[in-house]
Symmetry: C2
Subunit: 375 residues, 2 copies
Amino acid sequence: MGAVRFELLTGSPEGPRRGRLLTRRGVVETPLFMPVGTQGTVKTLTPEEVLGLGAEMILVNAYHLYLRPGCEILRAAGGIQSFMGWPGPVLSDSGGYQVFSLAARCSVDEAGVTFRSHIDGSEHFFSPERVMRVQEDIGADIIMPLDVCTPYPCDREAAARAVALTEDWASRSLATRPAPERQALFAIVQGSTYPDLRRRAARALVQRDFPGYALGGLSVGEPRPLLYSLLEVTVPELPADRPRYLMGVGAPDDLVEAVSRGVDMFDSVFPTRLGRHGTVLTRDGPLSLRGARFRQDMRPIAADCPCYACRTFTRAYIRHLLIAGEVLGIRLTTLHNLTFTLTLVREMGQAIAEGRFAGWREEMLARYREGRVEN
Amino acid sequence: MGAVRFELLTGSPEGPRRGRLLTRRGVVETPLFMPVGTQGTVKTLTPEEVLGLGAEMILVNAYHLYLRPGCEILRAAGGIQSFMGWPGPVLSDSGGYQVFSLAARCSVDEAGVTFRSHIDGSEHFFSPERVMRVQEDIGADIIMPLDVCTPYPCDREAAARAVALTEDWASRSLATRPAPERQALFAIVQGSTYPDLRRRAARALVQRDFPGYALGGLSVGEPRPLLYSLLEVTVPELPADRPRYLMGVGAPDDLVEAVSRGVDMFDSVFPTRLGRHGTVLTRDGPLSLRGARFRQDMRPIAADCPCYACRTFTRAYIRHLLIAGEVLGIRLTTLHNLTFTLTLVREMGQAIAEGRFAGWREEMLARYREGRVEN
């Protein structure tokens, strides 16, 4: 048996669905949102706090951890879970996205990617095989193959080449992956904004029978309707009995739209990064707490929110902390935004289980999008 | 009855002693270390965490809170305790030290101090009376009069003038202070490094019968032996039945030396600021965790420390967080350093109660100072 098994509980193959991932570190419900712990920490929070918010699984990043602290230290610590004190399952991203978006320079050929570290400019080489070894040292429950992640917009030729390389690298990753009973290797579907490329990429990968399928190269600047229609094109190509993971998507309305279209798993820095910029999520849309109108606002961020920030502090106080550059300010906005996002995703699961997702969705989106116009 | 009453429990008038402060918000043991919440937050921590470390009373700063968020917001919130969610007693500093050390420019005359904000350069005027009003809005249990805080070194003439103005301002503060049954006004003894000035300043203030006496203008760069000898000169001038508060002192060995000389109360940014710079306190002296020798050090900061950081994480992980600029790193070093400092002060109280302070002191200082040479 593989390291991760998926059970579909409720739902149609192409519509909203509910399931669970059985991992060696516990059972995780889907739809699932994974907070991002890029450098081995969900920014500003302790693992205890992340657990307390109801997070079940987190994402870490092979590109970042490879550069710092480095594989030697991760091996010495016995893997990322023990290094960072996270008791639950972990997914590690391959670093494909970071190499293409963050590294100082990078050049791709069939062998892999040569890039310079964004930290110190040092030169490094990632092959699909090397990235499997790095992720073996990290020791996550789900690992991702190196892929070629295209920007938006991207011409058809470059997108086709990215698909071909990503497919070839997925095969090479399969051939050299760590023990599948300890780490499950998912595949990544690329294809930019070209429906036929996405479809072909999905079909080719499905033939190789991965335990899960990710949709990559999305939420990179393309218009939202295009993202949604690409999901509608790609998801039906994926087997119903495998989890579908939309990488890098975390805005509340996008989560709802993607679950509507049959996606099971998400990760995104959206709630945490937004929080660090001083914006908090509410049912009525985001609020930028730095605004002067909150100076004397003695209400909590959201009256119905159970998070520590909302139970304890006023908007006026959190605004003061943000304006004064105090760390507690971004801790509180991070706590709140993750609570909001995890609650939203849990609610979707309940609504699906109880057969009332369509109504829930309509109400949520209307209120959220209406509020957003105001703020 | 005043807002704060002091009871001396054990100890000689000029040697180490143990007592308690009875405030409207609870009873607090002395020797007492107050973590500093300059801007209405103990940097990086929640009030829940600060309480959990065993802190009983904290300090906030009138200069900072007056500038940001401003008195209007503090009044609207019902005072600093309710604004920041701190349930225990609070001491507010007058801002004298900050005006002289932090403000962009300042000029003193008998009326008060004109200064420019370090935040936006705006001009402000603090008179002793104005500072009483500001601290009434803050609503702390113990408040401090505006004083003239001299730097080190300071010529005799300037020191004498600072003493005279500070004495005059203390009288004016007494005349216009808020209701004494709600807020206790302490006095501040200045006099720079001149024993006779310190003695005269203390005597003059003692005649006015304040509920507590602070030693100001120390730990501003003078050699440690000079600080200790100035305590030996000044403390005997202060009444045994009033608390003695040494402002701005928080290094472990200084705390021990000052308690030896009859000081009861302390505040300092030392443990928190040191932590943010990546240095942690141990019985064997401070350790700079950013050092390369901690890269693969899988031990806790201190094996015998009960704090969350030591119970949960390795030096290697905390070093990684510090090097990577992650907020969790400075949260953990702050937690640890405050735990260390509060534990140290609590141990002093126990040693005094059990009549074994002299031996405890010798052992502590030998180990701490010996270790410091090594690190």
